[in-house]
Every structure is written in structure tokens, then in C-alpha cells.
Symmetry: C2
Subunit: 671 residues, 2 copies
């Protein structure tokens, strides 16, 4: 929309004014007329255009025009002036005898001013995009994007860069959004005029603006010395912008400070105003304001079926066998393995629970960002100390200790592959997290600050699953995704006591009732198939587990748009874990095969130590038969003593940095 400005012109002396190209000046023709004026005529130099509203034909023959009530002269200019007061408009007024009474004279200086951003998201800051002042989601959307500068250019004393009010390394500007002020006009602005950039108090909490200055030391120094002084922040919401004269471009870099959250929708506005002086004693008035809008990019999780680059695992005093097998498996899958020493992890082996990998993305930059869980056990410092670095960001949410439960570990946080649900496209999938049944009071939940953060990112709308029935209470205890060559490109794997009972009954029927689970496992009494099947309390517990999983199955089908053929039931049994004064909760009876690690087509599966038939574990055989048809390769890894046993939980602990950004980058704006 064209900016119009009310202008008052006197007939007593000429008025000088600056006109911004692309805007209009409105002069009330009656208001500037000498008393008794009945007619008027308008003259102007080239480069000035005018119309008279309500619109009338400018026919020189009929001059002067009748001065009727309510006439507005609308003036505009098509290009910047080279000199101050270069252009001119005169309005001549006449009495009823067409005798001239006086002239209202306007001296005009035209300037071009455009504050520019990458509103069309092609990585280039185009000139004066008509959409630069608004923001719209989607592939046909528009609006510039801002990253939270949450990585750290330093490799020592590591804290996210946004905590510093300066740019210490030139590389830091790559994490910021370029903004360009383009001006064109005379060598100087008329006396007293100023340009100023300004933001609101609220936006001052969420961004900083740095200016780019390059000074050549000598005539031959084409490179110059770049400097990036802080220009706007919460302490300086407004700063004067020097005017350079001629055709000039001034660069600014905008830094995001705050992730989307319940109280922050990510939209921020930066304004550039031209101020006009009135007189010495009073403040200048803004006569033109250009504005640009940015939106802070959301934090996006990567699904487990994306090919990972790196696998993280802890080395502890008792997991050398496991570690050896993981090393071989990861090497075979072509990933890099990163081992966190016992010294660094302080004995905490549950690295998947401490953090979740995601990324932030914009047309100009993208990098992985780790979300640090408020779980905070031995690995509490690992994400900040070991992962944060150049182009590797960090974000966390602080919860009160009393609000943190096992459900805040990020084994309880996952994201689905891309899905389409009832025609609604989720190109980045949907987040899955575990909570208590909404019908139950007093259950454990993922803490509100983390849930609010995840929901506020918008692009991977979370689904709440019921996990409080499990002692540990993580979604990864009963579900995972594996890649598939057909259908939706993946299968959902669900733990299924029902499938396990069916398998065990089949074994019994085929004469293998005396085959033993846990054979050869140190410190674990073997159990026969017959014993498993005759254990009534185990059956009751597993019916309950199955009903809980089925509830989640129905939610997952509905919220991910899945049908039964997208789901594979994995034979898993649970057993009750009772603690005085607490309701009984479930833990896996044998190592929980669904809690696997997926490295492309290679699956690292907790070795179940099931009953052997003809020397082969029946559970492993079933697992292979369920998955190998999808082109997947199963590797069974012994985590019995190191993870499953004694810790009363059931997980393969390594987590994977699925930062395959190229395959996913750039699509989050398509909500």
C-alpha cells in the first residue's frame, strides 16, 4: 500500500520538503490558499507527478481550475534527486476575476529508501520486495527467516553465541540474516533530516542488529577491514543510520536470540524511518517508515529413519562387550561412532535420554541443534561441553526439579517420518512424546516447559502418547520406525505381547515347551516356554500392556494417517515392577527388541536371548522374518547385563545425530 503523507504548504513562503520515491504527498488545496481564492493552477518540474483528487482532467486550456471545497493535490516523484531542492511545484491562486493572489511554492528533494531482506527466501536480498513487511507459511508463502544464533564460534569457554553482545568471529555473521538498507539521493540530506532504525521493546528481547562497516586502509586495499558494531538491541531500540549520498547500500546482520515458545510466535519487525526536523526545540517527526518482518526458524527434529552421520555411545566400566558389538555394527553401517568416556559421562550410560538432535534452517544457513533434556544426570554437561561448537547449536528448557520425571528423558521423544493425515501434509513428520493418560490424575508427564517448547515450533505438531504405564515411561520402549521400500516409505514397529504369546504358544504346540529363555546369560535364571505360558500374573500384566499399546496404536493410526498394514507387531513381553506405595508399572521381560537403533537399512537390535529351536533363537528368527522382507538387515547386540539387566530398563542406548540436512533442509516453511 502506498504511504501517503499530509503536507501543509503556505502561500506566504516556499516550503522545502523531502519526498520518498514511491510515496505520495497530499496537499489540501484550500488550506494553502490565500483568502478569497476562487481559481488555481499547478505547475511542476519534470520528475514530479501530480493528480488532483477527486480526479479531474488536467487540461491546460481550462486553466485555471475552479477551487472547490475538498480538493487534494497528490504529488509523487519517480526517481531520486541529485541535488537538494532540485524539483519544484507551484500552486498559483486567483480571485474571481482570475487575478493572481499568490503562489504556494514547494521545493522537493526526492530520495529512494528501501530496507531490504530475503523475503522470497532464495538466499538473495532483493530490492523492495512488496511482501517484505509480512510473513506467510508455505511453498507459496513469503517472509524473511531468522536463525537463533545458538551455536558457538569459539572452541573454548563454550556458550551459545547469542549470549555475547558482540561478533567475535567474522564467521558468526553466517548465522545471521543479512538486511540491506538501499538509499539513493543527493550527496547529503537537507539540514536536520535523519534516518533512524528502530524496533519495539518486545522485539528488542528477541533480536540484535549489527552493522557491517568495511574500511579500506589504503587505496590499494580492496579487502578492507570489516567491523560489525552492535547497532540495535534491548538497550538501544533506536539508532541513527548515517546517510551516504548517491546510490548506497548499507549492510546489517540480524541475530535471533529466542526460540519460538508459548509466549513468542517468532515474528519480529524492524523499522527504518526518515525524520524531518521541525525546529530546534522540538523532536523530529517521522515522515516515512519502511518495515521488514522476520520469523524465527523453528527447531526441527530429524526422524530415526534418516541416514545418520554419527552415533553416540557411552563407555562404562561394564559395557565393553556391548561397545565392541556396537563398534562393529556402526562401522558396517558407514557411520562415525563417538564414544563418551566414563569420565565425561560420570557413569551415566543413557546418552539417548540426555539429548535430542534437530536442526534449524534458513535459505542462508542451516546447522544441527541439540535439545538438552532437563533430566540432568551424569551426562548433564555433555551437550553443552561436547556438542556445542561452530555450526552446532544448543537449546534447552529449564524446569523445576520437582517437575522432572523419567518421562523427561528423550527416549520419550521421537518424531515420525513425513506423513499425510486426512489430506494435511506433515513434510517433517510429527513429534511423538509420552505422557500419563489424560483420564488419570497424579500420573507422570513430560514437563510443561519442554512440551510447550515442542508445540510452539508448529511444524511437527506433537502427538501425546500414553507411556506412564511403563516404569521408565518412554515411547521408544514400545515403538520405532524402520525404512521400507514400499507404501509410505516406512513401517511402524510396535511391541506386541499378543504376538509374543502367539509365538510362544506355537513353540509349545510344536513341542518346544522346554526350550529356555535367557540361556547362558550371566546372573539370570533361565525360564522355559511352558513356564512363561503358565504364569497367570504375567498374562494379566501383558493383557494390560497390550491394551495400553493398542490405545497408542489407535492414536498413532489416527494422528499419522496409518492403516494396519503400515504397522508390524514385534513379539515383546512385559513384566510388572512393583514398588511399595506405587501402582505397578511395566518393564520389558527380555531385552526390548523394538528399542533398536536404525542406521539406514541396518538395524541394531537388543539381543533377546529367547528360546532356541534347532540352535537358533526363535525371537531373533521371528524378527528377521518380519523385517528382512523390507530389505533390512538385523544385527543382534548383547545389552543384557549392561543395559537391560539391573537397570530395570530396556534400551539400546546409543543415539544418532540424524543431521542429514540436505535431504530435509528447506522444507519447514511448507506447513
Amino acid at each position: 500500500m502506498i504511504q501517503s503523507r499530509t503536507l501543509r504548504v503556505g502561500y506566504d513562503k516556499p516550503t522545502s520538503v523531502v519526498c520518498v520515491v514511491g510515496t505520495e504527498l497530499n496537499v489540501d488545496l484550500n488550506r494553502s490558499a490565500p483568502p478569497n481564492s476562487k481559481f488555481f493552477s499547478v505547475k511542476c518540474t519534470s520528475n514530479v507527478h501530480y493528480i488532483i483528487m477527486p480526479w479531474r482532467q488536467r487540461t491546460s486550456n481550462r486553466c485555471p481550475h475552479l477551487l472547490i471545497e475538498g480538493l487534494i493535490l497528490v504529488i509523487s516523484m519517480s526517481s531520486a534527486s541529485e541535488e537538494i531542492n532540485e524539483s519544484k511545484v507551484s500552486i498559483s491562486y486567483y480571485d474571481e476575476n482570475k487575478k493572481k493572489l499568490g503562489d504556494a511554492v514547494l521545493h522537493l528533494t526526492a530520495v529512494e529508501i528501501s530496507l531490504d531482506v530475503d523475503a522470497d527466501r532464495d538466499g538473495v536480498v532483493e530490492k523492495n520486495n512488496p511482501n517484505k513487511g509480512s510473513w506467510k507459511w508455505g511453498p507459496d508463502g513469503h517472509g524473511a527467516i531468522l536463525l537463533v544464533n545458538c551455536d558457538c564460534e569459539r572452541t573454548y569457554w563454550k556458550r551459545p553465541d547469542l549470549e555475547q553482545r558482540l561478533i567475535s568471529e567474522a564467521s558468526d555473521i553466517e548465522d545471521m540474516s543479512l538486511m540491506v538498507l538501499r538509499t539513493r539521493g543527493p550527496a547529503k540530506l537537507p539540514e536536520g533530516y535523519k534516518l533512524t532504525m528502530h524496533i519495539s521493546q518486545g522485539d528488542g528481547e528477541t533480536i540484535r542488529v549489527y552493522r557491517f562497516i568495511k574500511e579500506a586502509k589504503s587505496d590499494h586495499d580492496t579487502e578492507g577491514l570489516a567491523e560489525y558494531p552492535l547497532f540495535l538491541d534491548s538497550a538501544a531500540l533506536s539508532s541513527e543510520v548515517p546517510y551516504s549520498g548517491g546510490a548506497a547500500e548499507m549492510k546489517f546482520y540480524v541475530e535471533g536470540l529466542k526460540f519460538l515458545d508459548k509466549d513468542f510466535d517468532g515474528l519480529i519487525t524492524i523499522n527504518l524511518s526518515l525524520l524531518e526536523p521541525i525546529s530546534k526545540d522540538v523532536p523530529e517527526t517521522p515522515i516515512f517508515t519502511d518495515k521488514v518482518v522476520f520469523k524465527v526458524a523453528p527447531w526441527i527434529m530429524t526422524p530415526n529413519i534418516l541416514q545418520p552421520e554419527e552415533v553416540f555411545v557411552c563407555s562404562t566400566s561394564d559395557n565393553s562387550t556391548f561397545l565392541e558389538q556396537i563398534k562393529n555394527f556402526v562401522q558396517k553401517s558407514g557411520c562415525h561412532l563417538r564414544i563418551c568416556s566414563n569420565y565425561v559421562s560420570r557413569g551415566d550410560r543413557w546418552i539417548q535420554d540426555e539429548m535430542e538432535f534437530g536442526y534449524i534452517d534458513s535459505p542462508h544457513q542451516q546447522f544441527p541443534v541439540v535439545l538438552d533434556s532437563p533430566r540432568d544426570r551424569g551426562l548433564v554437561d555433555f551437550p553443552l561441553h561436547e556438542l556445542l561448537g561452530p555450526d552446532f547449536g544448543y537449546v534447552t528448557r529449564v524446569a523445576e526439579r520437582k517437575d522432572v520425571s523419567s518421562l523427561d528423558s528423550f527416549g520419550n521423544l521421537d518424531v515420525s517420518p513425513p506423513v499425510i493425515v486426512n489430506g494435511k501434509n506433515y513434510p517433517l513428520g510429527r513429534i511423538l512424546l509420552g505422557v500419563a493418560f489424560p483420564t488419570a490424575t497424579g500420573g507422570r508427564n513430560m514437563t510443561k516447559v519442554v512440551q510447550d517448547f515442542l508445540r510452539a515450533q508448529k511444524v511437527q505438531e506433537p502427538i501425546a502418547l500414553f507411556t506412564d504405564w511403563l516404569l521408565v515411561g518412554h515411547v521408544d520402549e514400545f515403538m520405532t520406525f524402520v525404512p521400507a521400500p514400499d507404501r509410505k516409505g516406512f513401517r511402524l514397529l510396535l511391541a506386541s505381547p499378543d504376538a509374543a504369546y502367539k509365538l510362544f504358544k506355537g513353540l509349545q504346540k510344536d513341542g518346544h515347551g522346554q526350550a529356555k529363555l535367557f540361556e547362558g546369560v550371566e546372573g539370570q535364571e533361565p525360564v522355559t516356554v511352558d513356564e512363561v505360558l503358565s504364569n497367570d500374573s504375567l498374562l494379566t500384566q501383558n493383557k494390560y500392556a497390550q491394551s495400553c499399546i493398542d490405545w497408542n496404536r489407535d492414536v498413532l493410526k489416527r494422528e499419522l494417517g496409518l492403516v494396519d498394514w503400515d504397522i508390524i507387531d514385534v513379539p515383546i513381553l512385559f513384566r510388572p515392577w512393583e514398588k511399595a506405595g506405587q501402582q505397578p508399572r511395566a518393564v520389558a521381560y527380555y531385552p526390548d527388541m523394538v528399542n533398536m537403533i536404525v542406521l539406514g537399512k541396518n538395524l541394531g537390535i537388543p539381543k533377546p536371548f529367547g528360546p532356541k529351536v534347532n540352535g537358533r533363537c526363535a525371537l531373533e528368527a521371528e524378527m528377521c522374518s518380519l523385517l528382512e522382507g523390507l530389505g533390512l538387515s538385523c544385527t543382534f547386540i548383547d545389552d543384557f547385563t549392561s543395559y537391560h539387566q539391573g537397570w530395570e530398563r530396556c534400551t539400546v542406548a546409543p543415539t544418532s545425530a540424524g543431521n542429514g540436512l540436505t535431504s530435509n533442509g528447506g522444507t519447514w516453511r511448507c506447513e
Copy 2:
């Protein structure tokens, strides 16, 4: 979307299950089959419907069907059962020789369950509206509406009703939204099944649910005794709902506790789940959940050109002349006058500044709601003590004292009449509030908590005007609206130093340079027209004032979709007010005529005490000539000593309760 539930059926013993009418049960035909099954057939009683997915023709001739991998039996029921286990499905399995191996038998009890609200906004709670679980703005939108229960049924110890966790007066339920649970089924639910209503923790902070119970004392007592026990709130997020048997309706009343704000979009969800027992030792599982969505109604301001019902004014020790004139004027205009005594106001006469009138609206109820300013001078208790009452609500926002300035008085808060701006409809107008120039640092602003509150209401998207140039800093010092029979139905009146100078110059030219302003005003030295025109510092100040008003004029034109012909310039002069260490700011030079009170077509205008020409005040004459053509009647009221003078401000203080709800009610959903 149809809710589907995964159901596991054994061939060893019959399964009993409750099926909610309108949902589907999915049975995996292979999973329930005995070993070696090759064929199957399905039989069911009437009232049960099934299909086999992937879909195949059920031709009895071809029975039994081949049992291939992945077949799902989808079962639904069309009406509620009268008895438990009234209906039945049997699946018979056969071996390759079509010899029967066993039957999987399912006993079914059908119930109808529908949690209902007024989703189509016609004042009636219809049954099972397909849109009850979502919310959409606009005339073609849908979704139930909730009021914040901010009035007070009591006339003593007045606090908003929402602060009580009980319904003390039956009339209180009229401020709440009716919600009905409709059920139909056998006399009792099968053993162990339960209905439960539940809300999230976040929603628990924003609503309460009361249950309606009517108990007849005797067979002849058709009225019964109504009770409304608290059913859900932040302390009880989940409660069991008794099941009544047969066709039953249970009423609930939902109370809103919190207005829309920066961190609250007003959407809340109430869930009703059917729980299925698994066994004695484990919690029940929800097998069906119905949900309804409400949105809290926004607080809506009423524009000043709406016919008011009541005018409020303070009686002070020195305003008896003013009060007498106001009485006559209000009586003439057919409004009720309410006088706040000096005892109640504690000497604070600025009643317009302490509060702003608005209303909340829903299909079932609407009432005025006063917004109490954080200004908090002598009138601090007036809104709560004197206005809050039955069907008169109260809301406020608490700001830190250090953040409160003169711009927080509600002379600085207005709303425009309905406008259409570039095709966008604002049927309730747009809020206008005054702030510092965005380019200036250190200026005064309306406090953030109030601005956030106003913005969060959404339906009257606020426009920020520049008022910090004024000492008092209120929008009503330079603008108001009056009704008009043509164009947009109103005119915007703007204070105009330019128009004042033009008028005074005309007087001088016509020989009235010695005519005096302020003649006969006690304690005020008269000034001649010549003296006004020769005062250079006054001229400078007024050029600045005009440029500030023009900036606002351009904003108002753009943001309200106005053209110059919608605006009337009112001749007002300002003078500088300097205070050591502060930048000079403006106050009205003579009583500020634009700060009038509009009672329909009657305008109560501060008497300007302008220069007299032929015995008539030239400013009054100009005002009449500008406004009488619109069918408006001007009454000039002397507020010189009581308001204009000595207080260094310029306002007619009475405010008006424009709660003409019938003309505006019900339109806020049309954003």
C-alpha cells in the same frame, strides 16, 4: 473422523466388549485364528455391521472365505443396546479341508455417548455436532463460546464470581456455557466400565466445570432442588461421570476464568472418555474419547458514537457549574447521569481515565465489562466497588508502578466505529491507543500488560498513535469521532493548529485583531487575536503539534481506510509546557473542543472562550458550522476552571457506558 479401536479376540474363550455407536472395532482376522486356519466365515446378530478390509464382497455362497494375510474385520453398531452383551459376532475358522477348527466369539454391548455444546452458536446445545471438536472464526465459522465469569451475583463483598470455587446463586449459571452429556444404553454399564470427564493441566487454569443435579423431593415435586457441585477444576482435572442408563442427559456448566492474553489464545478442550477394565490390579484403559472445544469470548470496546445508556461524572468541591451544565446536557440527550461523589472519588475527577467500558458476548449471555486502568488514583476502587455487580463484569491488568505513566489513563484508549480497510472488515472497529514515537528512546508508552491484553482480544486490532508529544499524552486530546448520516457513518475530528491559525488570521484580516480570548474567565488573563498571531514560540510549538497530528492523521487514514473527506479539522491551538530536565510537551491553549462527549447527535463540547465577533465566540461559531451540517447539535460546556485550568489538561471528564449491546452484540465472531 471415525474413531477406530484395535480389538483382540481369542478363539479360546468369548470376549465381551463395549462398542460406542459411531466408532469401529478392528479385529485382525489372522491374529485371532487358531493355528493352521485356512478359511473363515463371519456371522453376526442384527444391529451389528461389518466389512472385511481390504474390502471384499460378502457372498454367503462363497463361504467360507480364504484367510489371507492382513485381513481386518471392521465392526460397527448402529444403535444402543438395551441389555449387556445383547449382540454377538462369531468368526469361525476352518482348516484346508474346510473342517471347523474353532470360533472366535465376541459379545457386544452398544452405547451412545455424545458430549455436546452449542457448536453452531444458535443458543441451543445440539446433539453431536460434527464440528464440536474444533473452532473457526467468522460468520461461516463454528465452535462453542465461553464467557469469563467476571461479573458478581452478590451485591455485598463484591469480587468477580470467578474467584469463588462454587455457585452461590442460581443466576450465576447464566454466565456459563451449558454442556450436555447424552448417553443411551443398557440400565448399567458392564462391570468395571466407567465414564470420566477430563481436562489438561493448562486448561484447568482457565476453566471450571460444574455439574447440574436436580433431585425431586417427592413424586409430586416436579421442580426439584437444583444443585451445582464443582466437577472439574485445576485441583481435579479428571472426574468420574455417573452412568444413568437408558436415554439420559446430564447437564454441566462451564465457567471461563481467564481473558485472552499474550499467553492464552482462549481455546480449551473438554474430554469425555469411556474406560475399560483390564483386571483388578491395573488401571482402566480409555477405549473411546469424545471432545468439545470452547473459545473464550474477547473483551470488546464500544465506540463513542454508539448511543450511550449512562454517563459518569465526578462531583468535586469546585465543579458545580460544570456539573449543572452536564446534568442539563445529559438529560436533554435522554441518557442517565451517574454522579460519583467526592467522598467516593477521593477528589479524583478524571473518571474517564480510570476505566473503559466494553462487553463480552456469547449466544447465551452478554453483559458490559469495565476494564480498570492501572492508573489507580483517587478513583482506584470505583470500577470494582461501584460498577461490578450482577451482569456487570470487571477486568483489570496489574502493572508495576514504575511502568505506569499518564499514557495508561484511558483517555488514551479509544475505539473507532466499524471500518473496512483494503477489503478487510473490522465490524467492531479498531482500538486506538497512544504511545511514544517508535523512533524515540525513553518515551512514555501505555504499559505492556495492557497493550498485550488489548492485542490478544484480536477482534479490534489496535492501532498505535503517537501521543507522547502531549504533556498528558492521550489520544482524546487530538481526536474523536462523531456520527454522520453519509459516507462511512461517521467523521473523524482532528485537532488542527493550522485550522486555528487560518481562522485567527481571517479574524485579523476582517478587523477583529483586538478581539480577546478568555474574556470573563476568572483568573485567566485575556489575550487578543493579534497577540496570538504575533507569538513566534507559540507558532513553532503549533507547527510541531500539527506535524505530530499529521503523522497520526496519515496513520489513521491508512489503518482505518479513511480519505481526507472523512476527516474534519477542528481549530485547536497548543502551547508548550516545560518542566526542568524534561523535553517540552504540549497542552491545549484554550479548552480542547475535540475532547468532547458524544451522546448520539448531541455533542457536549468544552467551551473554548474564543474571541467574540458580534457577540458570538468565533470558535463556537466555526465548530457549529463544521458540525451542524451533519445533523449534530453542539452544546458548549464550561470546564475552564474545573478541568482545563490549573490541571494543565484539557478534557471533558465524563465517560459514557456505551453498552448498546443489542446493536453490536453477536458480531465479534466475524473477524
